[in-house]
Amino acid sequence: MKRLLIHAALLGGAVATIIPLAWMVSASFMPQGEATRFPPRLVPSQVTFEHYQTLFTNLNLGRAFLNSLFVAIAATLLSLLVNSMAGYAFAKLRFAGRDRTFTLLVAALGIPAQVAMLPLFLLLKSLGLVNTYAGVLIPYIATIYGVFLVRQFMVSIPDDLLAAARIDGASEWRIYWSVVLPTARPVLATLAIFTFMSAWNDFMWPLIILTDDEKYTLPVAVANLSGEHFPDLELMMASAVLTIIPVLALFFALQKQYIAGMMAGSVKG
């Protein structure tokens, strides 16, 4: 009896969680107007790709998709390099003021990103980076959270491993590149997923820094589209699928690394 109740509750929760997403996918394949008809349909009477076609041909969402893909991939690669270098220095190299600097950095972890946005916009404007991909990318590259995540992992790399490489005469760069990075693969995977997803999902910053719809990322383009095309439920559902499914698929593929990284970031509590 108890077993039944537990599973009924678990299943109920799962259904409630899935329904909006399932409706999104199903309605995106329905012929125009079918999702709003009475009685309601759960599955399309016939599967159509017309809305996806419209998005890519008439509404230029393919462009936004590629913009998002480019921004997210570039952010991921740059963030991996820059954050792993700094994280490594904080974890394993000895220099004056290291621990104090790191403590200060962690203290700044709680500052909301919006606090920096207005001056950052003015700064990038003076550098001529408004409405450029570089301008979108800048806040994603080096992050306090990224440095923190890498540092916490790399602290546990045995010092003997690095000492041995030093005795062999390896340069500091060589040690970092061929000894440290391969050992740190799990945390790099985590950082990569986090960076990709937050760059892909971000809305406010690209909304602020991009003014030209040729450069819009997917969330900005889709938000704009929903203003003009709100009555076209099936079309908008297709645009939501296009935005959400890539990150959802990435999560399903790499959820072990994602959850592990999330827990690693939470043990400081």
Binding site: L10, A14, L93, P112, F121, P139, A142, F252
Partner: protein, 291 residues
Amino acid sequence: MKPQSRAALLFLTPGMALIALFFILPVIAGFFLSLTDFDLYSIGDAANTRFVGAKNYASLLDNPLFWRALTNTLYFSFVGGPLTIAVALAAALLLNAKLARFKALFRTIYFAPVVTTIVGVAIVWKYVYHPRVGLLNRMLDAIGIQGPDWLGDPRWAMPALILLAVWRGFGYATVIFLAGLQNVPEELYEAAKIDGAGEWKQFWHVTLPQLGPTFVFVGIITAIGFLQVFAEPYVMTPDGGPLNATLTIVMLMYREGFRWWNMGYAAAVAFILFAMVLLATLANTLIRRTR
């Protein structure tokens, strides 16, 4: 310089320079910005900017729209946050039950909304809340209830946003709670059973106290996320919603700063947000200490 210090400098420079230049510096500059009357004319020529002291903060306190945004944000956070945590705890307890099967599958499903793009799900939920053809009102209709115009009614717009936020956010807290639950030593339950404690008493006297640190962490993360709400109301209820019922602090900052270019004023809003996040963090930690 010792060779390691020199290497450290090389490794640190790219990341730390970027963080300093594009985050720390703007945060500090933002505070000074909030003490000026920086506006559209200043963007044309910075010489048009004057130092005005705390005037922006003072006029915010005089602005009914600011109080509206503040109340809305607090409503969203103080109802949505605890609700998210309650749902997450319930889900985690179910998932942690010894009798439960398919745990990994359920966990994955519960977590899935967490990684979804806010703009995408905001659009989907806008249709879920559609007064006539929306999924929610159709379901209510089926059991004989006539649902309201969720996003168009000033009384229901905020609860509707809260429901979406709980849906999207509870999976995160669930996974953290689950880890916390798995760390509770089995001996404590054994001891409680020997003392004759039933399941409810075990939950109250063993599980909850043991989850203390987890509560603090989840509380802080949830509060920070809720206080910064922006994309959901921006997409679902443009321009602050019915009677500004869903105007939030970050929306006010965006509107003042990037639509009207009152950047000094908007910077003051940003620092009030900062203070709120700081307070929420402190409050969560203090509550834990006094227990």
